[in-house]
Amino acid sequence: MRHICLYFQVHQPFRLRIYRFFDIGQSHDYYHELNNRVLMQRIAKKCYLPMNALLKKLITRHTPERFSVAFSISGMALEQMQLYAPEVLESFQDLHATGGVELIAETYAHSLASLKSEAEFRRQVARHAQTLEKLFGARPTTFRNTELVFFDALAEWVADMGYTAILAEGADTLLGWRSPNYLYTAKASPKLHVLLRNYRFSDDVAFRFSNQGWPEWPLTAEKFARWLRDLPSHEMLVNLFMDYETFGEHQWPETGIFEFFEAWVDEMLKDRDVRFVMPHVAIADHEPVGEVQAPKPLSWADSERDLTAWLGNDMQQDAFDSLYALEPLIQKLPPDKHPDLLRDWLRLQTSDHFYYMCTKFFADGDVHKYFNPYDSPYEAYVTYMNVLADFRERVEKAQPA
């Protein structure tokens, strides 16, 4: 028996417009409406709609018992679908109705709040769960943190909120000699199951698929199926986690990514022992073989698997600290009286804003540039700080006397 757990991340940030010094105190319109709309609609056409259609076809062809997937759709992406591409939301709802989709909880704003504030983190997870219930009638039991950030205290909070599983990066520092192809639990909270991303196989598809310089190019369905089949038979759970935009955006349709995916699923399922399972099924069907612990936060990014892509330089740390310095003021606002401030508070927390300020423009930089609206990290920082200056003024003004 071999289980493959496919999980796709769906997320789009509210990108900022070039917000200038002269705008501070004058305009509270921070977002690049046109850019965000056009990107959402383009990605809808190139990725979300065709890939949803393909997944639905595969679920129908193979039944949800044999082929199912998991999604995390950030609150930011859901808001943008509602604003700019309602047909995409309907398409996800439709796909979810097949019974072959598990929806995973995350922080509503796709934020790094867990690194700064447990309270804000919990609020955002609760908000995301409520949104999933409202839009999909789903009650998530699996959690994934932004950029798969994982650490011991986080495991405790997540278990405390009632989640039974968490997704994390199968980082070498976390596993040591061990294989990611098993079920684990969190040492900090033994009731919480941990599903670890197999980064080699995940990145074969997500990053290397169309790279002609890669010795394994072209990656065919048969070859990829064979690699998975050739794993030791006792490694029974392979977790392939990737951005959903891999299909049609990071890897263009011309690369054959859609055809590859369909053929690979069919190829895998020729073997009657193979199933594609959702995380809640995986934790029911497998016994944990060990514990993982992470005293320091890990992520799925870059070769270091750390947080330097978001909080590695002074600009990022300054922006991050300045943002969360506002949290106490936000909490003092009378509830429900300032929906616009709350909306901006969430949108400004999205991790992408900090990612754009990354100065590690080398090996990993290619990925960093993707969808990056700025010419330089300096510009990203300057723009973000201007927005924050205006936002702070509004929050201060709104404080109850």
Binding site: F21, F22, D314, Q317, D318, E379
Partner: protein, 421 residues
């Protein structure tokens, strides 16, 4: 008159000064033809003529070309990029305009040369192309004297003088020592020295600059006139500033060694905890911008700073209207016309003692550029004690009314009259 900048194509004080001077000279009945590298067609022209070197027809005439180069091309143009180019590195804040496409000159018949009118990577090339094009007005235009602004136009001025024998005045707005400290670009320095040597008369924008010309270039002091810059009257009164919680402390200028932006940042670091209402603006771009942004981030002051990139004149006015104090901590500032513009807008100014404008302003706060603690004190005082602002506003307005281009230009006319005609 030969100059590199004229409104609206300006990068700094040079263009502003040329505009004011031309208007002042016109007022005194001087007929001015201002030759710039590239005429954009939007310059505010009425009483004087504007000519772009890009409009000068150059005959296909190899003899002339060869003669010209023999006469004028005294230095090789192959040289390392001058430090003047600093601001022209890829703009890191893309609020700047995009460069224009290069056009090829027509190969047959009279042709025209292409100019960017900017401080691009091929600046030296452009300086010599300008000189070449300008040399062709020698026989076509009637003029009595040649007035060249800064090293960029000195080769052209020298060429015209050699071709026509007319007197040459070189005007010095900034020397290579101002821009680069003690490590001047040797080529640019040589062009300056040549210009000073061949000139019949030199006009420096301050005593400070005159002393550099005398000491660093060995020019006899009697050849150098000091004529301070001035400021054009504003068409509107300073606005009444609405009471706001946020106080804006402004740095405006190229973000380069010469302008001392790091002293501004260090002063802000001292003030930030004590002045929660202060917001610091750095308006301009330059080779130090990235390191300045890094430093601000390192100090965790990003939420207290705004970086605007290069601002066109209209937005400079807008910025002054929002500013509560203007700080010019220049390490070496021949004049610093922007301090006058700030005063004109009713903004109190703090200027470095190492600036020419300090010679003409009594009612300005002055500080040594390196004295960061003192600078912080002064900013604090201006923001917290409104009486200072009121005092300076009242007296500075009187002082400003004395600093008119008509007056400065009258001195220039005086200087012209000392020359043999």
């Amino acid at each position: 008159m030969l100059g590199w900048e004229f409104p609206p194509r300006i990068a700094g004080g040079l263009g502003v000064a040329c505009y004011g001077l031309v208007k002042g000279l016109t007022h005194h009945g001087v007929q001015v033809t201002f030759v710039m590298p590239l005429r954009s067609g939007q310059e505010p022209t009425n009483a004087y003529r504007l000519l772009g070197a890009n409009e000068i027809n150059i005959p296909v005439d190899s003899t002339r070309t060869i003669t010209f180069w023999r006469q004028v091309r005294f230095y090789g143009v192959e040289t390392a990029l001058g430090p003047y180019l600093e601001q022209l590195e890829r703009p890191i804040l893309t609020f700047d305009a995009v460069p224009e496409p290069v056009q090829e000159a027509t190969p047959t018949g009279p042709f025209r040369l292409f100019f960017t009118g900017k401080y691009g990577a091929d600046l030296l090339d452009e300086v010599y192309r300008y000189a070449y094009a300008v040399s062709f007005i020698a026989e076509r235009e009637h003029f009595d004297l040649i007035h060249a602004h800064d090293w960029l136009t000195y080769p052209a001025g020298i060429a015209l003088k050699r071709l026509t024998g007319k007197p040459l005045i070189v005007h010095i707005h900034a020397t290579e020592y101002d821009r680069s400290g003690e490590n001047p670009n040797p080529t640019i320095r040589e062009i300056e020295a040549q210009g000073f040597a061949e000139a019949d008369l030199i006009i420096a924008v301050s005593f400070y600059t005159r002393s550099i010309v005398v000491e660093k270039y060995g020019i006899p002091p009697e050849k150098v006139w000091v004529i301070h810059n001035a400021v054009l009257p504003k068409d509107r009164q300073p606005i009444e500033r609405p009471a706001r919680r946020r106080k804006v402390v402004t740095f405006l200028g190229r973000v380069t060694y010469q302008k001392g932006p790091e002293y501004f940042v260090e002063a802000a670091a001292r003030l930030a905890p004590r002045l929660p209402e202060a917001h610091f603006v750095i308006a301009g771009t330059g080779d130090k911008l990235r390191s300045i942004i890094h430093r601000v981030a390192e100090l965790r002051l990003g939420s207290r700073f705004s970086f605007t990139g290069f601002l066109p004149p209209r937005e400079v006015e807008q910025l002054f209207d929002l500013s509560d104090v203007y700080v010019m901590p220049s390490v070496s500032e021949p004049f610093g016309i922007s301090a006058l513009e700030a005063l004109r807008a009713g903004v109190p100014v703090i200027i470095s003692k190492q600036s020419g404008v300090a010679e003409v302003l009594r009612y300005a706060l002055k500080v040594d550029f390196w004295d960061v603690d003192r600078l912080a004190d002064l900013i604090y005082g201006v923001l917290r004690y409104p009486a200072i602002t009121r005092f300076f506003r009242r007296f500075a307005q009187d002082e400003l009314s004395q600093l008119q281009w008509e007056k400065s230009s009258a001195r220039v006319v005086q200087a012209y009259k000392t020359l043999p005609s």
